[in-house]
Symmetry: C2
Amino acid sequence: MKGKKDDRRVIYTKMVLRESLIKLLEKKNISQIYVKEICEIADINRGTFYAHYNDQFDLLNKIQDDLFENIKMHLSAYTNDDIHTPPVDMVEKIFEYIKENSKLCKLLLSDGGDLKFQKRVLTLVYEKSINEITKNSSISKEDAEYIHAFQLTGCLGIIQKWLDDDMKKSPYFIAETIIKLTTGLTELIRH
Amino acid sequence: MKGKKDDRRVIYTKMVLRESLIKLLEKKNISQIYVKEICEIADINRGTFYAHYNDQFDLLNKIQDDLFENIKMHLSAYTNDDIHTPPVDMVEKIFEYIKENSKLCKLLLSDGGDLKFQKRVLTLVYEKSINEITKNSSISKEDAEYIHAFQLTGCLGIIQKWLDDDMKKSPYFIAETIIKLTTGLTELIRH
DNA sequence: ATATGATTGTTGATTATTAAACACAATGTC
DNA sequence: GACATTGTGTTTAATAATCAACAATCATAT
């Protein structure tokens, strides 16, 4: 799948460059950020930056790809895990992950965030859960699609509010709430 | 005075190795700490450690030397600065420095700390202030020595208490207190 | 328009760090 | 005491990051 693993130097370089860009993104737009700035804050030679990334946008994309992949991993763990693990615990893990990366998530998922990225994440969740619900129920695919349009934007709303509130509520509470609301919805349609 | 300046890599390596050792020193004695541990926490190749230091003790010595040099710098700034700067502000700077390096200072200056190092610092302060006081007063050198024996251990006591209290009082407050107590002392002898 | 200054993207030579391996010493376990 | 395990100190070739320089591009103000 990939070449050799990065050694410590590469891992460190990428990490500080990412942190540096995230820090800058809290203050200004990506197109107002210079490569030079990123390197100064990261304390990394500019030449080294270009050895890994083409420009600011490339770096941001890589960061987004990573976040996306991680969310994907958490989601697949949720749907594929054995039946004996309560669903709440699995969803909780996703929110713990979001909390750990709150700075970045706030930037990308908030109102002023990256719309393309949000759509990308939502589509991922969408495909996962459409299958889940239509699989073992009498609900038509058409109905399910509307339910999920509602569910997805609803979840995003909850996440945004949670981040805005500086994650005062525990990840478990949010997970529980979301599980209740989403499972409740399908119950409503069934009857 | 010295050769070429270290580049970014060297600076980073030394920094993380120092932080790593300090972290370990909070849990155990220097002679119970392995070089291997230090490198693992710092995420630095063991070979790189040996490129800069001989062993744990050498690293600790270098850390102490640095702290010593910095305290020295702050002290000399205090005694050599122009007369218009209030002494309290100068002493405050020293305590701000201690606060910034509280972890390390706590380790080295506390009751269980390194006695040799404490003595070294005290001697430094001693020489500075003996001159200061005998210079423009009628106090004999013999008297001054006793006053300072008192002053120095007294100051160390205050610093230790301050560190034990997790530096709740501001650096300025401590500076003010120490100035009051030490200048007060010489007044007492004069009369 | 033109001049001034700052950022860019790339380069070449140099240096620091890396992973991996090694024989050896220290440590703990049965 | 013999045993396996773990840390030590050093070496190797490979590679990543460094600094410094460069012409080219962009920004801003005059």
